[in-house]
Symmetry: C2
Subunit: 346 residues, 2 copies
DNA sequence: AGCAATTTTGCAAGCGTTTGCAATAAAAAA
DNA sequence: TTTTTTATTGCAAACGCTTGCAAAATTGCT
């Protein structure tokens, strides 16, 4: 790699190796019908000239771009970070690069989707909760490889990776119940999202199965963000008969809850137990460390990436929907309610 | 955008609009010498056909790729996330896309650098602390636009964005001193890095200027990671005469410190004050919330992106080095040492 | 109306690869 | 040997776009 010149092309390599450029191309793309001695000569020339393939040209000429698009709502989330890490890890095993799009960009999601299909990427990973199903159809029609992460295609005709939201929530509530809580506040996620729906459903089911009445005031609307978590918690704490535990639909809003609890001069878990959902890295950083339902986000990213690559390299593979289990991670933010406290509220 | 077909090319648009393909190209790339009526006709055709430009082809033909490369060590850092957010925000104002590379990938950093110069990106943002200066030279030689973030080119011939590490550390130590601390433990960052060096230097300078002796045992080596922060803190706490405050070179290691302190049955800030550096989002999430030196990471990303774009669009712009100020963010992890505690140690 | 200056438009030649097809060389079979 | 078969290699034609150059229109002045 002595000569590092921008303009070393396949032709230069061909000349250097004394073969035709198509032979060089074949060697480079791992074609089999090349004599070993020739291959070696080409490789040597490549090395000597410091040649690097021009991806753009390669993909224009019909090859693959070697790029995978990742469409996410934003980077300020923790949650996305974990997924991205998983994706990145998986991609590092293959030779794909990652092109990141955040939908807060000015143009519409749909236009990104389209853009990618135009040669920019070989496939796309969608972590776009609020998706307008519209462009998913576009992708499918064009037969462009894509995988949804933590969201589902209502029509069920897309490859997707998600987790057992409902069951996770069910277990969390069951856990709280088991600790002796009888009044459990629930803060929903953004209800347009399937995952938010399922978590609520799981919670309700657990209550029902335990023969507990559901009280409307105990269900407060949130949006998966911290601020709304704080405010929903305030509403819960202001109730004439406040809950002894609060189940927030994700960790971020659980953090808001913890803050609100503290602002009310109460202590977690002493006065109020708090449980979250996701298990983002911060969950074990807060104090007290948050008990939460772990969604294997990085694993989801990894699997999605794998699914996508399979689909890219083998286009007629049927779509697949992988659902990962969640698990309750018990840390220090929950405990049994005090008897006195309970009595007080009777 | 009724017909969404993969293969709508500039030629189709030209036919539809009844003009030549070069005219279409000119309209699309904002060339001026086009009659208004023609432009309109073309734009209509584009709309009608749902045409989307093929970036690969465009960039092959000599245009720009419209992609900016971002080379980072990994995504598991919080620190990187903030920078990336800033970059992303800035990019969203322009029309560049972001291609993400993590160096933990198998190939070497240098090969990525090369790859990008081959048409894949128009410029690159480097957040690669441990950089071997080698490929920076490669980039410079090829006159390929790049900007360093939170790191400096020893030879000082690169555009870069960093912050006043030294001064930030100076102020932090001064603050601790002002609170009455006389024995301050310091946990370094990875000393290969300039920023780690500077933070240590700032700390030492503050001690010196305050007429304080520097005690070797109080300086422990860390590496900017949590685990090492924990262990360095243990070493500090095991000292015959342990410090009353610990200054960790970044927030991540400060978290490790807090953990260690807790593991020793002590309380932050009651028994030991802890101060960090960076102010990553988690800093205000931990309990007690971490007092730290704020480095405007997102702003650094934003500025770096801007610098890079300027450089791309105006190649003979001189290189620039922007250094942002840091600021002390006082939260709850520091307080004055107890007199009794101090006496105990006299 | 005639001519120069200026604005618009179109043609053709790439950009660096991949790949189908055909030609050549080598190996196997007859 | 000669004929088949199979392995190697080269040529040429895309891929979809940008851009220099030249031709065609238009406009402004005499």
């Amino acid at each position: 790699m002595s000569e590092i010149n921008t303009s070393v092309t396949i032709l230069d390599v061909a000349r250097e190796a004394g073969v035709s450029y198509s032979t060089v191309s074949r060697v480079l793309s791992g074609y089999n019908y090349v004599k070993d001695s020739t291959r070696e000569r080409v490789l040597e020339a490549v090395e000597r000239l410091g040649y690097v393939v021009n991806q753009q040209a390669r993909s224009l000429a019909g090859g693959k771009s070697g790029v995978i698009g990742l469409l996410v709502p934003g980077l300020d989330n923790g949650y996305i970070g974990e997924i991205a890490r998983g994706i990145d890890e998986e991609l590092s095993k293959s030779s794909y690069d990652l092109l990141l799009y955040t939908t807060h960009r000015t143009s519409t999601e749909a236009s990104y989707a389209l853009k990618m299909t135009k040669g920019l990427a070989d496939g796309v990973l969608l972590v776009v909760p609020l998706l307008t199903t519209g462009y998913i159809e576009t992708l499918r029609e064009q037969n462009f490889p894509y995988v949804l992460i933590d969201q589902v295609d209502p029509s069920n005709r897309s490859s997707a990776v998600d987790s057992l939201n409902r069951q996770g929530a069910y277990e969390a509530t069951q856990y709280l119940l088991g600790l002796g809580h009888r009044r459990i506040g629930f803060i929903t996620g953004l209800m347009k999202l399937r995952s938010a729906e399922e978590r609520l459903a799981g919670h309700m089911a657990a209550l029902r199965d335990a023969g507990m009445p559901t009280e409307e005031d105990l269900i407060q609307t949130g949006d998966f963000w911290r601020r709304e978590g704080y405010e929903a918690a305030e509403r819960l704490l202001n109730l004439p008969n406040p809950p002894t535990a609060i189940f927030a639909s994700n960790d971020l809003s659980a953090f808001g809850v913890m803050e609100a609890v503290r602002a009310y001069g109460l202590q977690v878990p002493h006065d109020i137990s708090v449980i979250g959902f996701d298990d983002i890295p911060q969950a074990s950083l807060v104090y007290p460390r948050l008990t939460t339902v772990r969604q294997p986000l990085d694993e989801m990213g990894r699997i999605a990436a794998r699914l996508l690559i399979e689909q890219i390299e083998n286009p007629d593979r049927p779509i697949r929907h992988v659902t990962l289990p969640t698990s309750l991670v018990i840390r220090e933010s929950c405990q049994s309610p005090h008897q006195s406290w309970l009595d007080l509220r009777r």
